[in-house]
């Protein structure tokens, strides 16, 4: 319900945040409602609720530590904590990329019901993942404090890493969700891509294991590497980030720009095609 005159022609361009003429207030209220609904649906019906966000990476960490501990633990001090510090931002990435692919396809009825800024459907997945990440990281920091890690030496960089991840995930979510509407294959392909991506991100193995070429590719061509290494260094060792975070920030901005551009180009077609 928009209280102004609206004209639509084949040339109508998206304006402001969106093409629907939502006020800024209504825009944020819709985002808030979508995120709240999603969190309620995701956790409201489980016995331990948000505990799953904590339990999942912890269980993963234990499995990886059991399998690869003998191989990597001697080279990497605090191997388990390192693993966990990397798995937390990874979980946000995997949840967003896998979840948002179908965010528009599954809501095709909603897209046809009323004109609303549809970019908020994928963006709500990102926000949901980031809110979970913040809560889980705070719990993890509590554990680190108890076990006497130098958490507070570089805690600001954890926030920076999270902002970079949020920008990157927003770009990915916009790109993936609207491309899936046109090419349903993307949804199927993604589970493999996410699985592969995990192994080109330095979560499981120490970087020293890689040869220089591999290390450069992993650190400077993969936006998730800067995020993961910054979280690991800042939380476990109390150190600042490496140049990898700068590369990540640049790639994240680029991804967001591409995602935003593509989404805006295809946005008008979504209700007809989805």
């Amino acid at each position: 319900m928009i209280a102004e005159e609206r004209s639509f022609t084949p040339q109508t361009k998206p304006r402001g945040f969106s093409w629907t003429g939502f006020s800024v207030r209504a825009y944020w209220d819709l985002l808030r409602a979508l995120v709240a609904a999603q969190i309620k649906i995701r956790y409201g019906y489980t016995a331990i609720g948000l505990g799953w966000a904590l339990l999942n990476p912890t269980l993963q960490m234990m499995v990886y530590a059991f399998i690869f501990g003998a191989m990597f633990a001697p080279e990497q001090a605090h191997f388990r904590m390192y693993l966990l510090a990397g798995l937390l931002p990874w979980q946000a990435f995997a949840f967003t990329v896998n979840g948002c692919a179908s965010s528009l396809v599954n809501q095709s009825d909603l897209l046809k019901k009323a004109p609303f800024p549809s970019e908020l459907l994928p963006i709500s997945f990102v926000l949901n993942a980031m809110i979970t990440l913040v809560i889980v990281t705070v719990c993890f920091i509590g554990v680190l404090i108890v076990r006497d890690f130098p958490v507070f030496d570089a805690i600001g960089w954890v926030l920076v890493a999270m902002v970079v991840e949020a920008v990157f995930l927003s770009g990915m979510a916009l790109l993936v969700s609207c491309m899936t509407v046109f090419y349903r294959d993307i949804e199927q392909l993604l589970s493999f891509v996410v699985w592969l991506w995990f192994f080109v991100t330095p979560i499981l193995y120490p970087l020293a294991r890689l040869n220089p070429l591999e290390r450069n590719v992993v650190l400077y061509a993969n936006p998730m590497s800067g995020v993961v290494t910054t979280m690991q260094r800042a939380l476990v060792e109390g150190l600042g980030p490496t140049a990898s975070l700068t590369a990540s920030a640049c790639l994240a901005t680029l991804t967001f720009a591409v995602g935003w551009f593509v989404f805006r180009r295809l946005q008008y077609e979504l209700p007809k095609v989805a």
Binding site: I2, S7, T9, A26, L110, A114, P271, V273
Partner: protein, 275 residues
Amino acid sequence: MSAMIVEDLWQSYRDKQARPPTLKLTLADARRRRRRTDRWALRGVSFTVEPGEMLSVIGHNGSGKSTLLRSLAGIYRPVRGKVTVRGRTASLIDLTAGFHRLLTARQNVILGGAIYGLPRTEVLERLDAVFEFAGLKGEEETHLRAFSTGMAMRLGFSIAVAFDPDVLLVDEVLAVGDEAFKLKCLDKVRDLRNDGATVVFVSHELAIVRSLSDRVIVLDEGQILYEGEPDAAIEAYCAHLGVDVETALSRPLVQQQHLDALDSRWGKRRSRRSV
């Protein structure tokens, strides 16, 4: 100043079925840039609606009624032509779309209101009015999975009309719930119109169309077949379909066609009672 102006509106859908089925053909066609096949749903529709007018759109299935309504709502951008709508627009198109069965009725109303572009404070203010109108007072904290389809649709209708729209776009949704609520919905639409709202109404229920509308547009294959007074328009529509006017008015046409189709398929006559 008109409330709605539609100038030479064209709309089309991509036809996925027409795509070549094999990879080889897909590649070959991509080279020839012939991959897209469009199916035109609206071909050059033009009309205006004055403020406070109630316009009905009738036509057989697939004649472009819903496409027209979605174009007016701003959901579809025109492929050709221009659509202008003035005022706060409520689209009663798919009432329960976006509802989630794991959320409570109250949470669904807040989400539904937000999708219509209403600020949260306004939604919260009118929450009671919404449940009052839907006849679901006391069910605010019930999860939607415990609701019947009719209850959910009543809630959806109530959200859309509770916020004093200037323009109301109604797609077949007055077939909501039981007879009592259907009458209540029609009354509400009439009230909004008496208060100056403009209504565009798409329906197969010719009796309702005749009693409510000021003007009727008959669509056929995406073009305007007839535009004018309700009685004359219904006559033109029935003549076009080859149906008797009295029969069409006495019972829903869809049901009639449905029964006919069943009859011919099963090869026996069923006893038909008018509704």
